[in-house]
Amino acid sequence: MIFRTINKTYFFTVFMLSVFGLNAGFAQEHGENPIHEIAEEVHEHEAEEGFKAGDYIIHHISDSHSIHFFGKESEGIPEVSIPLPVILWTNNGLAVFMSSAFHHDTEGKVVVESNGQRFVNFHDKIMYATATPDHHGSYAEVDEKHKPVGDMPIDFSITKTVFGMLLIMVIMILVFRSVAKSYTRREGQAPTGLQNAIEPLILFIRDEVAIPSIGAKRAPQFMPFLLTMFFFIWLSNMLGLVPFLGGFNVTGTIGLTIVLAGFVFILTSINANKHYWGHIFNPPGVPLGIKFILVPIELLGVFIKPSVLMIRLTANITAGHISILAFVSLILIFAQMMGTGMGYGVGVFSVAFMIFMFFLEFLVAFLQAYVFTLLAALYFGDATHEVHH
């Protein structure tokens, strides 16, 4: 009954989701997924076939092995998605195949053989397949809590996030290369076209971020890094908001932000001067006893600073996606509880809120890129600051 209701609202919602760039594969798993534990608790007493907002949202902001546009095979709606290459470092060496080999299965039911080994996709985790399926028909080796166990190949796949990242980087190289060409071709002249659009941002990073934080003397040294960082984060944030693109969540993936923050940490550390380390390991003008307390705190701060960058970016972008998805979920929850008509009624308000959220997210996309770059610049400035006693 509820399933039918969902199917009725399905096309309405698919439209909504497509418009807002969020893929519409409704999770109808029965809480076997380890990452869905919270959702499972929330929906414990709901009907078996009920729509689970938690599952649904987590599914959409998680990384995936294909770029999913719409459709769900298990519901008889043809899936439209772009398969991505799966690259695995196994006990037997490299195994490479396309994710389409799994036929959209994420329950560990389809076994793919490659390089003489057998693999299954269990909730976008690639695992070695067991010899025989369990009672669900799954070849994935799981414990009683449905958590994957045992040996797993190291996954170097071009996932959705990695693909999005590479896409942004290719776009960046193409765009900025062409802009750079116009600088050399039209030397000393007024900017035109794309140059006009990019130049204020570059000047903004240079004059409002780098120079005030680092100082005019040392700023040029960090400019390429800061500019790359800023544009990469900003464009990645924006990619996550582009409709009809399968809902990328590039900068909301912790694996990516940890790398970005890691580079900030490395650059800060290798460029840091004596004065910077001196303040950490031997704070001047502090009694010896206090130093024993202060030095560990200062040392911890060295690691906390980039960690904060990492968490802030991931959390902000993910939160934005979650709130938009939550408004989508509202439609389905109301439709499920009070009928299709209610779903439509709530839909009007949800869409209004989604539009508002999208505008907010445009702001956040820029703001987070700016904040990340500004803080990175401040850390660099702190590390390279010359003291004048």
Binding site: M165, R177, G188, P224, T228, I254, G255, F263
Partner: protein, 165 residues
Amino acid sequence: MDALLSPSLGTMVWASIAFLVVLFIMRKFAWGPILQGLKDREQTIANALNEAEKARLDITNLKSDNEKLLQEARNERDALLREGRDLKEQIISEAKAKAKEEADKVTAAAREAIQNEKLAAMAELKSHVASLSLDIAEKVVRTHLADQENQQQLVTKLLGETDLN
């Protein structure tokens, strides 16, 4: 939730490689030329502004120079005019003086000539009067001899005939 919060090694490796490659490419082929271009342009604009300022100063200087030159020329003209006027007046007054002197000289000469003529005329007149007196006296004497009254008449008549000039 752990999929969201635990970083995947694959993503990290790809992100590191891709970011480093892009950073390198962008640094070399994009940010380098762009930042240099911006710097050059700013330099060009700053130079152009400086030059404009300098040109403005030059023009101001030139203007004041022109003004000075013009003033000098005006002064010179005034001086020339004054000199000319002075010269003219001098010439006129000199000419006047000379003319006056000449005229005086001429007048004096004329006066002398008149005096001379007058003296000559007086002398001639004197001699003429003398001879005329003699003539009259002769005639009077002759008539007197005949008639007193006739003699008187004759003298009167003769005197009337005589033009003293």
